[in-house]
């Protein structure tokens, strides 16, 4: 798993059925990446719901948040609509888990990514990363502390 001071590998992933987002577009902004195992599973939903309520806090730190899982763009769209999410979910779908693997958070046994958080600074350098136990929603205090330190 990538750690503090590693360069965040760039990626281009679908955020909606017809729109892709590249990490490099966000140079000059802080970025939070929240890798999570799957849309719809209870813990993930709570986690994404929590981040959804926190967008204004992230904004204070000039930070954008992206959720990433191996689910497809259509699955993300349905999940996002059902939970009324206001931040992008990225589909690490094809080749499956490629980006999760680059960040060192892919779980081969489950075929999903682990529950992992990264805070990336405006230069594209990872400043904080955290691997959460699969069944535990890590909350957001760690993210906010990391943003505070930037």
């Amino acid at each position: 798993m990538l750690k503090k001071n590693d360069i965040a590998p760039d990626f281009t992933l679908f955020a909606t059925p017809d729109q892709k987002i590249a990490l490099s577009e966000f140079k000059g902004k802080n970025v939070i990446l929240a890798f999570y195992p799957a849309d719809w599973s209870p813990v993930c939903s709570d986690q994404m719901a929590l981040y959804n309520e926190m967008l204004k806090f992230f904004k204070k730190y000039d930070a954008e948040i992206f959720g990433i899982s191996v689910d497809s763009k259509w699955c993300h769209m349905a999940f996002s609509q059902s939970r009324n999410l206001h931040f992008p979910l990225l589909a690490d779908f094809e080749p499956k888990g490629e980006i999760s693997k680059k960040y060192g958070v892919y779980n081969d046994t489950e075929g999903e990514c682990n529950r992992a958080l990264f805070v990336i600074d405006k230069e594209g350098i990872i400043q904080w990363s955290y691997l959460s136990p699969m069944a535990v929603n890590p909350g957001a205090d760690g993210i906010l502390e990391a943003l505070e330190k930037l």
Binding site: D46, Q47, A49, L50, N52, E53, M54, F57, R83, N84, L85, H86, V136, N137, P138, G139, A140, D141, L144
Partner: protein
């Protein structure tokens, strides 16, 4: 993960003031899990309330629960007339009917001064109180609702486990 800020005068407190056991709940009035925890917590306070200081802080997940925040504001407005816990209980006891009209009905039923109440629910101070509870929850490591803290430390389990713990430690 520890509670910040600590329990203070601005909190809604029931049970025994300055007790050795202080429990803080972060809750959402529309959250079904909080609704399910409510009678358990009620039982806990009936049995052990003489030894426990219990605090409720707002943690409305507004994007998921459209009435969570209005309910939080209404409970804060009731607090200004000394009826926070009456409103808190009434909302959880009638959670399935929760909407804006029902909240106003509850205010009426609890005998709140309606002119005052209608002014208070629009006050930015009340919105700020709800926001500041939410922010304190986030900083304390709240990751969903309900979340509990016992003596400032996050209690990573539900209300039933909390009741069980109290039955063991409160003598």
């Amino acid at each position: 993960m520890s509670l910040q800020p600590e329990v203070s005068k601005t909190d809604h407190i029931q049970g025994k003031k300055d007790a050795k056991i202080v429990i803080v709940e972060y809750g959402d009035y529309q959250c079904p899990y909080c609704g399910a925890a409510y009678p358990v917590l009620k039982e806990m306070m009936e049995k052990y309330g003489k030894r426990i200081e219990f605090v409720f802080r707002n943690f409305p997940l507004s994007e998921m629960h459209q009435y969570a925040r209005p309910a939080a504001i209404v409970a804060e407005a009731a607090a200004l007339q000394g009826k926070f816990w009456e409103m808190h209980d009434a909302i959880y006891e009638n959670q399935e009917y929760l909407d804006e009209a029902f909240l106003l009905e509850l205010a009426d039923k609890l005998g709140l001064d309606s002119r005052q109440f209608n002014m208070d629910i629009k006050k930015s101070e009340l919105a700020a109180k709800v926001d500041s509870d939410f922010e304190s929850g986030v900083m304390s490591g709240v990751n969903g609702t309900p979340s509990f803290f016992v003596n400032g430390r996050k209690f990573n389990a539900g209300a039933d486990d909390l009741l069980q713990l109290m039955s063991e430690i409160v003598k």
